[in-house]
């Protein structure tokens, strides 16, 4: 599977009744097996970009393609993790994670088995019967991550998936993500504000300008795989991180 954006731009009607350019135009091609991290200032259109790829937002101009087919609605094999947890308050943790399976028609016994196998990884073992209102912010985020994992998607669209997590949990889950990915070919597009995290995880780090977000830097991360947290002290790592930081500093003039 390959994704490509061609002069993609999104504008919203702004409070004054005019048009607010929110994103782009952006052109970008993402290959078969790439892990792409998106970095950019708040409000630059990262979420908007992710939503276009998820088929939830129609572009104002330009186009998003998946294997040459325009993305006009949610596509098979894509899964999105929203910036907010967006859990259903009337469903338990178990049922929230199992939701995609239920929609796909998986019988109850099977889907609960699948989800329960996932809980230790998400560190939610004893909370399968808890309701979202009984969770901490980070726990809710992990449930949302579980809801994506359970779909075993080919394209992961992750909007700040670890934003509410502490450093340790964050590392653990991102390494888990790398492992999952090493087993099958998957595209991952992930928004993050953490440069180290981006360099540690990604094959490419894309830096966007302030609103409307345009492509400012497209940094290829050529560190060897598998990667480990200890790498952040290595020279190459620091060089890449600094380069990215530099391009961020640049755009904000």
């Amino acid at each position: 599977m390959k994704l490509s954006l061609e002069n993609l731009a999104v504008a919203f009607s702004d409070p004054q009744g005019g048009l607010l350019p929110a994103l782009g135009p952006v052109s970008l091609a993402v290959g078969e097996d790439e892990f792409v991290c998106l970095i950019g200032p708040s409000g630059c259109g990262k979420t908007t970009l992710i939503r276009v790829l998820a088929g939830l937002q129609a572009p104002t101009s330009g186009i998003a393609l998946c294997d040459g087919v325009p993305i006009a609605r949610p596509m098979r094999g894509f899964a999105i993790m929203f910036q907010e947890a967006n859990l259903m308050p009337w469903r338990t943790v178990l049922d929230n994670i199992a939701l995609p399976l239920e929609v796909a028609g998986v019988p109850a016994a099977n889907r609960y088995k699948t989800v329960r196998a996932l809980l230790p990884l998400l560190q939610l073992e004893n909370f399968d019967q808890a309701y979202p209102a009984e969770l901490s912010g980070g726990m809710a985020q992990r449930v949302a991550l579980g809801r994506v994992m359970v779909q075993e998607p080919q394209v992961w669209l992750l909007d700040e998936p670890f934003g509410a997590l502490d450093a340790l949990t964050r590392e653990k889950l991102s390494l888990e993500l790398l492992q999952l990915r090493s087993r099958t070919t998957q595209i991952i597009i992930m928004v993050t504000h953490n440069i180290s995290e981006a360099v540690l995880l990604a094959d490419r780090v894309i830096v966007l300008s302030p609103r409307p977000g345009r492509l400012v830097a497209d940094v290829r991360v050529d560190l060897p795989r598998p990667r480990f947290p200890e790498m952040i002290y290595e020279r190459d790592f620091l060089r890449l991180a600094k380069r990215i930081r530099a391009s961020i500093d640049e755009i904000s003039g």
């Binding site: 572009p59 104002t60 101009s61 998003a64 325009p70 993305i71 006009a72 209102a133």
Partner: protein
């Protein structure tokens, strides 16, 4: 490729057409009324239903002109409108107050529900004499009838609306040390307004029924009286005139609530865009 850009274009166009959309929206109820009128014309022209039961629109128009000219329609309408107004004021006011209390203290629901449901479900004929003795034969008894029927939808929707207010936002208000009234005005009222307004829609159309039923039981004047008396004189066109007037009143009230809704929920419309 074409498909997606079409979607995009459609979206942009939709926005620029919103002015025209508004006009259309405003005209569509008129279109419906016109369509109904055409169906009516057709039915009575072909005599699909006997003109004894469904008189031709022209006859009804003539009866309407007469009733307007001699001022009787206006007089009866004002009577009914007055009963409705005070009935709504009373019923909706009490419904809001008790509903809010119940939403805040759920025990109350268990204590009060037998009384409330009894009130709501007892057909008025059963207590008509009590009503006449307590409230006289004047408009008061009709106001009470209206209030009783109008009260319930307001009540249950107030309960549902206030209970659904986000506890997170309640925490925000509490952290600001807001008073009860402020919490109500700044949080609960706007948050519950979609549900409250739905209750008000039901209440406002039931108000017409309430006033008219009150007038059936104890007919003196008003549109309910006019229907009964026209029906008893086999003046079907006049029956239609009074029923259509009731419908017009109900529709106006409903539209009023819908307008308030439109204003109150402008944020939601814009957010959903």
């Amino acid at each position: 490729m074409q498909e997606s850009s079409r979607t995009a274009t459609a979206k942009i166009e939709k926005r620029s057409l919103s002015a025209r959309g508004n006009t259309l929206r405003r005209l569509s109820p008129l279109a419906t009324v016109l369509l109904l009128l055409l169906i009516w014309l057709w039915i009575s022209d072909r005599e699909i239903i006997s003109p004894i039961l469904v008189p031709p629109p022209a006859d009804v128009a003539a009866a309407f002109a007469d009733a307007l000219a001699d001022g009787s329609l206006a007089a009866h309408s004002f009577t009914t409108l007055g009963e409705m107004f005070y009935g709504l004021l009373l019923g909706v006011g009490i419904g809001l107050a008790i509903g809010y209390a119940i939403a805040k203290a759920p025990v109350l629901e268990h204590v009060l529900s037998p009384i409330i449901v009894a009130f709501q479900s007892t057909p008025i004929v059963a207590y008509a004499p009590l009503l006449i003795i307590w409230f006289g034969t004047g408009p008061a008894s009709k106001v009470v009838t209206t209030a009783v029927i109008v009260f319930f939808p307001t009540l249950v929707n107030t309960i549902a609306g206030v209970r659904a207010v986000s506890p997170n936002l309640l925490d925000v208000m509490r952290s600001l040390d807001a008073g009860r009234w402020q919490i109500f005005r700044l949080l609960e009222l706007p948050a519950a307004s979609p549900v409250l307004l739905a209750g008000l829609k039901t209440s406002s159309t039931l108000a017409v029924i309430g006033a008219v039923v009150g007038e059936f039981v104890n007919p003196q004047r008003g549109l309910g009286y006019l229907v009964t008396s026209a029906r008893n004189r086999y003046d079907t066109p006049l029956v239609y005139v009074s029923v259509l007037t009731m419908t017009a009143i109900a529709l106006s009230l409903y539209s009023l609530v819908a307008l308030v809704e439109w204003r109150c929920l402008s944020w939601r419309r814009r957010s959903l865009n």
